[in-house]
């Protein structure tokens, strides 16, 4: 963990502190603020880091303490223009905080849930009250806790920074890793040390720096990151062991060599943001580099059709999986699908076709451009699909033979814990990574030169707004904070491993049905 502040001069926070000329520079505010908001410089006090202010959650508020009444606390007007129902301004700011510090915000921000008014945002983790029996809602037996209390964890005293690329069970005694090959076949045995990996974002839709930052962060965290469907740039070669390459309907940049280079291959049948619709990369984003990678013509829009024109039945699907296994017999095969009414049948079909991983992509995520009508209306929310698939695979007697990965709108460690309790083994992240790189969700990724903040763009000038080391560290920090928070949650449930939480729906309560 290395503190990695915003790359902008003025980070956006929830509060603003205003100092009038009545200030006598007594330094009381500098002393009392635990968040280092105020700074004494050349016998003058300045509000140097207003974005770290926790506002009304502050135990010792400077603006009430100031002997001259020179300080006033206000909500930032900029802050209120940010965000939406799913990614509230609070969630954006807390993700930025985690990416900067590697810990969850100390106060002032609701970092656990958004304001979508349903699904994740109405689900709550259901803990036994502390001081009583220590067993959590879903745990089977009581255990004494050999680890620090949750308040310690929140201050970042537990959990350890990543060491190299292997990062397991350090100190806290809680295993959050996930075994990806459960078929016990001759393919690779792969364990990820955190219960998430990076979802596909293609070269072309995001910059090479964004892509590299995500992949290197994945390597440091002991997990993987998916290339998306835009090909496999040579820059990723040093991280081959942490790359998942995607085979999607457009087959852009898919070659035998790229399939043989990796340990996991992902078939993308559909994606949650535009289920049943193809992908579409606008001509503006098809720069010569992108065109080369995709073996296409620069400046022309690229359609990724829907569905695979070679797959019209589950038998065709098996043929697809066999094809990958023939080219790279040791590879794990992941099948990424959307969430239709019959998602449970699709999952079972994929299992019998030989998939190691069933990846359910819900409709709230997605980082690329998609028609609003599709994002809002097509296919069921992830929170409905995961328990349905989990149960169906259980009834079929194959649940322990396959890994279920959920993605599409998982924004926080709490969302992660909730979807695991609903029946997933792990998740994919996407938007959260971009928010760590200071995406503000202006939703203009697709227009003109692409992302004005240099994240989702191939514009040579804008791309340079992000430094590779900065980006890598921000993502590592964010997920370090996620991991710590997840460990705290599992400890509160009295669990030693994440696998104990899978499908434990009594660890959850829903505000509408309690």
């Amino acid at each position: 963990m290395v503190r990695t502040p915003s790359r902008f001069r003025n980070p956006i926070g929830k509060y603003r502190l205003h100092r009038t000329s009545a200030c006598i520079a007594c330094g009381l505010c500098v002393e009392c603020c635990p968040y280092r908001v105020h700074v004494m410089r050349r016998e003058r006090v300045e509000v140097a880091r207003a974005y770290l202010c926790v506002g009304h959650d502050c135990k010792d508020p400077c603006h009430l303490k100031c002997p001259e009444g020179a300080l006033s606390l206000k909500r930032s007007v900029d802050f209120d223009t940010l965000g939406d129902f799913r990614w509230t301004p609070d969630l954006l700011a807390s993700t930025w905080h985690m990416a900067e510090t590697g810990t969850v915000p100390p106060g002032g921000l609701e970092y656990r849930t958004g304001a979508a008014g349903g699904g994740f945002d109405k689900l709550r983790l259901r803990f036994r009250k502390e001081g009583g029996s220590t067993a959590g809602g879903g745990a089977k037996e009581e255990r004494s806790a050999p680890w620090p209390s949750s308040s310690g964890a929140r201050k970042g005293e537990t959990g350890c920074p990543p060491r190299g690329s292997t990062w397991t069970e350090d100190g806290d005694g809680v295993d959050v890793g996930v075994e990806l090959n459960r078929r016990g076949d001759h393919a690779h045995r792969i364990r990820i040390e955190v219960p998430f990996y990076g979802g596909g974002m293609s070269y072309g839709s995001v910059s090479i720096t964004t892509m590299l930052s995500r992949v290197k962060a994945a390597a440091l965290l002991g997990t993987f990151c998916c290339t998306g469907e835009g090909g496999y740039p040579d820059e990723l070669k040093p991280y081959d062991d942490h790359v998942i390459t995607q085979v999607a309907t457009g087959l852009f940049g898919v070659r035998e060599e790229t399939i043989q280079r990796v340990r996991i291959v992902e078939f993308k049948y559909a994606q949650g943001a535009k289920p049943g619709l193809g992908g579409h990369l606008l001509g503006d984003k098809v720069t010569p580099g992108v065109a080369r990678m995709r073996e296409a013509v620069a400046g022309h829009p690229l359609f990724s059709p829907f569905p695979f024109h070679s797959v019209y039945s589950v038998e065709d699907h098996k043929k697809h999986v066999d094809w990958i296994k023939a080219i790279n017999p040791k590879a794990l095969v992941s099948v990424k699908v959307s969430t239709p009414t019959d998602v449970d049948m699709v999952a079972v079909g994929s299992y019998y076709a030989g998939a190691h991983i069933i990846h359910l992509d819900g409709s709230y995520g997605g980082t690329g451009a998609a028609p609003d009508i599709a994002k809002k209306n097509i296919a069921m929310p992830l929170e409905y699909a995961v328990p349905r698939v989990h149960r169906f695979l259980q009834e079929e007697g194959v649940r322990d033979q396959v890994t279920v990965i959920a993605s599409g709108g998982i924004r926080t460690p709490h969302d992660l814990a909730k979807i695991i309790a609903l029946g997933a083994d792990g998740i994919c992240t996407g938007t959260a990574d971009l928010v760590a790189l200071e995406c503000i969700r202006c939703h203009n990724c697709e227009s003109g030169r692409g992302c004005a903040r240099g994240i989702a763009t191939t514009d040579p000038e804008l791309m340079h707004l992000i430094d590779f080391d900065w980006g890598t560290q921000r993502i590592v920090n964010l997920f370090t904070a996620w991991r710590r928070e997840l460990v705290r949650i599992l400890q509160r449930f009295g669990m030693r491993s994440l696998s104990e939480l899978v499908g434990q729906t009594d660890c959850l309560a829903h505000l509408d049905y309690r």
Binding site: F8, R9, N10, V77, D80, D84, R86, A116, G117, G118, D121, L123, R124, L125, R126, F127, R128, K129, Y269, A270, A273, G276, L277, G278, H280, F303, P307, H309, V311, Y312, S313, S338, P340, G366, A369, A370, P371, D372, I373, A374, K376, N377, I378, A379, M380, P381, E383, Y384, R388, G409, C439, I440, R441, C442, N444, E446, L508, A509, Y513, R514
Partner: protein, 465 residues
Amino acid sequence: MPAKYLIQTKPEPHRFEPLTPSGIIAWEEGCLKCAVCVKKLCVYGVYDRRGLNPRQMIESIDNQCMNCMRCVQSCPRELIHKSRNPEYTAMGDAHWTPDIIARLWYQAETGKIPVSGAGYPGPFSGPGFDAMWTDMSEIVRPTRDGIHGREYISTAVDLGKAPAHLLFDEAGGVASEGPQVDAIPLPIILRLPPFGDGSEDTLEGWALAARRLGTFFSVPLGRVRASWGEFGPSLIPVLDPGVDDLQRVPKWFRIVEMGWDEGWRGRFERLQSLFPSALAAFRIPLVQDAQERAAELADAGVPIIHLEGGVDGRWRDTDARYLKDGIRAVHLRLVEMGIRNQMTLLVSGGIAMAEQVAKSIICGADAVFIDLPLLIALECRVCRRCTDGLPCPVEIGRAAPDWVASRVVNLVGAWHNQLLEVMGAMGIRDARRLRGEVGRAMFFEQLDRETFGSLGRMEEGFELE
């Protein structure tokens, strides 16, 4: 296979600057006059093109700003901020939200489907149609090469009546009446909005749009001008027997509509004798006994029933029920009676987004009327000042018919493309086959309880986080 139905759209600029969700506040006081000012670095060149629109007293930068916040975050003196625009937030109401209105403006201006990056920003679900999701099919479906690809998806629907079967005489000739139907190329009919500052020019523009689209414009007979003869086949006159002399109504209308009241049977017979070639439509309000009334009308052989909900997308007599529930109830009743395939069910009331056309059809409608969107296409802000006799802030009545038609064609063109998107995803190639297909939809009421109803309970000794 019929020729592909394509709606030709062309950009049609706004007359007034649209309201934006937020505005830029840029203080000049305290400016350091940096050599490289953040305003010069704007990716979108917003500050280079700034200017004041003197008619509206709006600074152009707000409409060009794309909310990347880079200037806000980079100014060394923190002199630039963004703030929510209260005028924007105050638009419309709970049903016609500011975001819906702004998105309709965009579609009327560009003719394009609203597309955005970075995932879905909205609520989990909502009332009415927002409590419904449409299905998709992973593999078995029409192939898609963009929405106007190789495989044709037909959005045409039939209006009118068709017998369940034909009767033949002894010589083998057809002895019974055949189907009496009129097909429209898309399941959307234009309808005079319930309020608005529409002038004769505005109405002419809407009629023109209906003709260009190949659909109908439904308007009270009293507002049909003699000079509109050319639009006759594209109009559905709404007759008011208290005012209109039915004898004098021109005979070339293909469909005529009347409101339901106690004396409807007599008037239905009269309509049939006066307009033997026209299809009669009866309008019933969406209230508690709408099912009974629809059943009576259908039983008597009325070819078209128009179920009219409130402008807020709810029932006319209760706020607790929505158009969606009304359509399902009436449709199911007609299915139970065994006559659903012999007549047409049209619905109206609060249809505000393209997805609601598809969802109405899934619930059991054959086609929908759209009304307020016709006004919003003309930059209406749903301020309802016109209902108090106050002047329209965007002077809708002064817009030329061609501009009006073009904006409406753009809007409907964008809706049509979105309808193709959702139909394609569902694997449906013909809008006629979508009707009543609730298996292609998922309902909040059912799924939410099924999924979350059996989670942990809130008991003594537990706390939630």
